[in-house]
């Protein structure tokens, strides 16, 4: 029953920060909005007084009048300049502070942007041939900086999880890097921020921040091969997957399926969402997605699959079993 609901995540927002960088930027935002409000209020009040006041100089161009106006305008420009200099000083200080992650052992994750989904790889020198490869859901430990090394396979995308950090573009031909750190456990939603074609709107992701121990547990499981099908229905589903064309694009660790065009599905059953965090991962949603992806994400590169009802049933059982 729980799974029928959308996964519960914090309101996607830069002013509800849950990460080191977003927190520092949010503090700066408070300075900005207070200063800007005061300046705006002064300008508007002056303007309204100028429009409404009753006493008017007889000769606005009299030397005395001009001198007093010049003094006021010059003073206003000087104050503006001071505000700008303070702003620049605070901005540069903030920029330096969040440019590099704190000196703690960081986790490194490769982020690869595809039209229209996210690939996450966890490089691990201990098991070079067996990196975790997952899609659209980025698991990170709380309180530990995560360095994201980012590249794009096709067009420019932009990685953005507002509760944790500002955005950084993924650009074909340029590897980019950014870092994030969550200071409390939770699920944070993010979305591609650079227009990337038809399904730019539905290229979302979830960052799942867990305490270190839970994260390690997840990583251990994620590093392993897929679970073998539990029953005969799932077994039949595996056959549908391997022979029905799915494996051309999708990989499942421990089987013959090795496609790299679409997301790796090795532990698909443990994901909260499908279709780049567009839909909760329920049996009904998944069935609808497999049969007619174009209805949910028109333009998606996943083709429709005309499966017999029992084939579909078996396939769903198999995929949902890939915990």
């Amino acid at each position: 029953m729980m799974l029928l609901q959308a996964p519960h995540y914090a309101q996607q927002s830069m002013i509800d920060p849950a990460g080191t960088k977003a927190g520092a930027i949010n503090d700066f935002w408070h300075f900005l909005i207070v200063t800007a409000s005061i300046v705006t209020a002064i300008v508007f009040i002056t303007l309204f007084i100028a429009l409404a006041k009753r006493r008017r100089p007889a000769d606005p161009e009299a030397p005395g009048e001009q001198r007093s106006l010049t003094r006021w305008v010059t003073g206003s420009v000087a104050v503006t300049l001071v505000i700008i200099v303070v702003f620049l000083f605070m901005d540069f200080r903030l920029g330096r502070a969040i440019a590099t992650p704190p000196q703690r052992t960081p986790l490194r994750v490769n982020v690869i942007g595809h039209q229209w989904w996210w690939e996450f790889q966890y490089p691990d020198s201990a098991t070079p041939g067996n990196w975790i490869s997952t899609a659209n859901e980025l698991h990170i430990p709380v309180g530990r900086p995560v360095i994201l090394r980012m590249s794009a396979r096709d067009v420019i995308h932009s990685f953005w999880v507002p509760n944790l950090s500002g955005k950084k573009d993924l650009i074909p031909g340029h590897d980019t890097e950014t870092w994030i750190e969550a200071d409390s456990a939770g699920i944070y939603r993010g979305q591609c921020a650079e227009f990337c074609g038809l399904q730019h709107a539905k290229m979302a992701l979830l960052v799942i921040a867990e305490p270190e121990r839970q994260f390690e547990q997840w990583a251990l499981g994620a590093r392993g091969a897929a679970l073998a099908p539990a029953d005969s229905t799932a077994k039949a589903g595996e056959q549908v997957f391997l022979t029905g064309g799915c494996s051309v694009c999708h990989a499942i660790g421990g089987t013959m399926a090795g496609g790299t065009v679409g997301p790796n599905l090795t532990h698909f059953g443990s994901r909260l969402t499908i279709a780049a965090a567009s839909l909760p991962n329920t049996k009904g949603n998944l069935g609808g997605w497999i049969v007619d992806p174009q209805r949910i994400k028109p333009g998606s590169f996943m083709p429709p699959n005309a499966l017999e009802p029992d084939q579909l049933e078996a396939l769903l059982a198999y995929l949902e079993g890939l915990k």
Binding site: P60, V73, D91, V155, A193, F195
Partner: protein, 647 residues
């Protein structure tokens, strides 16, 4: 009706008027319409065409707002939505904001500086036709489902041959070429006009501020356009003949496009925006009954903005990999542009403070402009910060920011200027009552539409999304924004109604209905084909007010052919007389051959040879020397002094 203009009108010289009109007026009939090289006709065509594009782009915006009014709405699919938002941005930037300001400048500048026409009137006419062809091209594509869909910024590789097959982006790139040609032609025309055709005595420190902003903008066009011209050429070559300027797999670079595009794109923002403050500075005297305060400061602020505008482009790229020191430079430049803009606002407030405000529609739109522009300026300084921008970049916060800036800096001044100069153009005033409705609906609608978008952006809503999920919680504020868009729509309807009503029923304006100070008000409304019977001579910044009723004039220009007076660049001393070629069809034909060149090129390389041959023929005919009874430039003796008029 000041005594000044009344007096000018009463100098009865009917036979001179008839002679001049015979020489200057456009030929009758449709062909005559195509032949016209009158700056007033060309200016009006620019403004009317740009206004049609403004309405089309507004309808596109309304469609987008309808789609986004609730989550997961099914009104538009992603393919249509992407075309619609690309067309909205492209139209507003390339087919509305820049051309409408070019058109206003072309209409007003010669009148404001006391000239008979612009310099290079044939090139001027050609520029308009090229602009029109570009606009027709892209809308033809849009209506047959080949509208561009890669954004008005057309980032590669998405806009490249691999990810945007078909003709959509090709049509976009060629439309850019057309608008570049038109803008560059207009800049040559306007710079020459302002430097050489000013009335005697109108030294550079007496030029109306709108003319100053026009001059600065035209120089900016000259330096900014070549960047996007080469960029769109490279893009077209990548797409049509498989070069690899932007293909990283073959050593090209995707960021090269962004640098070239924004090196043009940011100055473009100021190219759109600077005429707005020019309009405000020029109409404020009439509605505060005093000359605008701080003329030298205003002029220097406009020039400073023109320079700083070229040092800001990287703030569109703060999410790309850049060294921190380099970013700091662009942050500083982006924040410092607030200073010249602040100077302008402070000077306007000082003008109102010491003047006697008259609350007519142009002043209302001016006040609205200041309020909206200040809000946009505040968020503008905020997003100069790299860390803050890393959050709001490419979100609805930015959408809110630049709509505040452009509506406050371009659209509100434009409406102010429209209500102000409409009686000069048509001879009839627009309705004040409808004008007030127009203003309040626009002011409320703009704030209702765009203010909530700040919050939406901070809540994570990216730009250019055709839909959003219900779980994001963005539905309510989007609905408010969509209702606001309806209010803006109704405001534009009121405006259109007012325009149509006024053509028949508007109060007759007379030469100077606002009792204003600059030269365009010294001639009748609408102005005669030759603008001024005799060249006015200027002794100050407010010639109509200062002349105290009797505008001094200078005679001696030919009556039997189109002849203009050239003056010196700095002091506007009479220099020589110059014959104009008169009305001709060849600019139109040359524009058509340019159209053939670029449009056929989209489909086959044959466009190049065919277009070149046709263009050569048209151009040869265009510049073919005519027999004249005397040389076209007549040196004047330098001893003719500019008349000094006592204040």
């Amino acid at each position: 009706m000041t005594t000044a203009t009344a007096r000018v009108e009463t100098i009865a010289q009917p036979e001179l008027d008839v002679e001049l009109d015979a020489v200057w007026r456009s030929r009758p009939g449709f062909i005559g319409w195509l032949m016209s090289t009158d700056h007033k006709s060309i200016g009006k065509r620019y403004v009317a065409t740009a206004f049609i594009f403004f309405c089309l782009a507004g309808l596109e915006a309304a469609t987008m707002r309808a789609q986004l009014s609730r989550p997961e709405n099914g009104l538009l699919g992603p393919d249509t939505y992407n075309q619609v938002f690309t067309m909205h941005g492209t139209t507003m930037m390339f087919l509305f904001a820049v051309p409408v300001m070019i058109g206003i400048g072309l209409y007003l500048v010669p009148l404001m500086i006391g000239a008979r026409n612009v310099a290079f009137p044939r090139a001027n006419a050609m520029g308009y036709w090229v602009y029109l062809i570009g606009g027709l091209l892209i809308y033809s594509g849009f209506f047959v489902n080949s509208g561009p869909d890669a954004g008005w910024f057309a980032y590669v590789p998405l806009a490249g041959p691999q990810f945007s097959p078909g003709k959509r982006v090709d049509i976009w790139a060629q439309m850019i070429t057309f608008t570049e040609i038109a803008a560059l032609v207009a800049s040559v025309v306007q710079i020459t006009t302002i430097f050489k055709l000013r009335a005697p005595g109108m030294s550079l420190n007496r030029v109306p501020i709108l003319v100053w902003t026009t001059l600065v903008v035209q120089f900016m066009i000259m330096f900014a356009m070549p960047s996007v011209a080469t960029a769109s050429l490279f893009l077209a070559m990548d797409r049509l003949i498989s070069t690899h300027f932007f293909n990283p797999a073959e050593g090209g670079d995707a960021l090269l496009w962004q640098h070239r595009f924004w090196f043009f794109g940011h100055p473009e923002v100021y190219i759109m925006f600077l005429p707005g403050p020019g309009i405000i500075s020029s109409l404020l005297p009439a509605f505060t009954r005093r000359p605008v305060f701080g003329y030298p400061a205003l002029v220097l602020a406009v020039i400073a903005t023109g320079f700083i505008a070229f040092g800001l482009w990287v703030h569109h790229m703060f999410a790309t990999p850049l060294p921190q020191l380099g970013q700091s430079f662009f942050t500083a430049a982006s924040a410092l542009v607030a200073i010249p803009n602040g100077i302008q606002i402070f000077c306007w407030i000082a003008t109102i403070w010491s003047g006697r405000p008259i609350f007519r529609t142009p002043l209302l739109f001016t006040i609205g402009s200041i309020i909206i522009f200040v809000i946009g300026g505040m968020t503008g300084v905020m997003i100069a910060s790299v860390p803050f921008d890393s959050q709001v970049h490419d979100t609805y916060f930015i959408v809110a920011h630049f709509h505040y800036v452009i509506l406050g800096g371009v659209v509100f001044p434009l409406f102010a200027g429209f209500y102000y100069w409409w009686p000069k153009v048509t001879g009839r005033l627009l309705s004040e009552a409808a004008g007030k409705w127009n203003f309040w609906l626009m002011f409320i609608g703009v704030n209702a539409t765009f203010f909530p978008m700040h919050q939406l952006g901070m809540e994570g809503m990216p730009r250019r999304v055709y839909t959003y999920l219900a779980g994001t919680g963005w539905g309510d504020l989007n609905l408010v924004a969509s209702i606001g868009a309806l209010v803006i729509f109704s405001s534009v309807v009121v405006f259109l109604g007012n325009v149509i009503w006024s053509l028949r029923h508007g109060q007759i304006a007379g030469a100077n209905p606002w009792n204003a100070d600059s030269l365009e008000w010294a001639t009748s409304s609408p102005p005669p084909s030759y603008n001024f019977r005799d060249t006015p001579v200027v002794g100050g910044r407010a010639p109509v007010w200062e002349s105290g009723g009797e505008l001094p004039v200078m005679t001696g220009l030919a009556r039997d052919r189109q002849q203009v007076l050239l003056t010196t660049v700095l002091d506007a001393e009479p220099d020589s007389r110059h014959d104009h070629p008169g009305h001709t069809i060849w600019p139109f034909i040359l524009a058509v051959t340019i159209g053939i060149f670029f449009i056929v090129l989209i489909f086959t390389p044959w466009g190049m040879p065919i277009g070149t041959v046709l263009g050569f023929i048209a151009y040869a005919r265009y510049v073919w020397p005519k027999k004249r009874h005397d040389p076209s430039i007549i040196e004047l003796p330098r001893s003719v002094p500019p008349a000094e008029v006592p204040r």
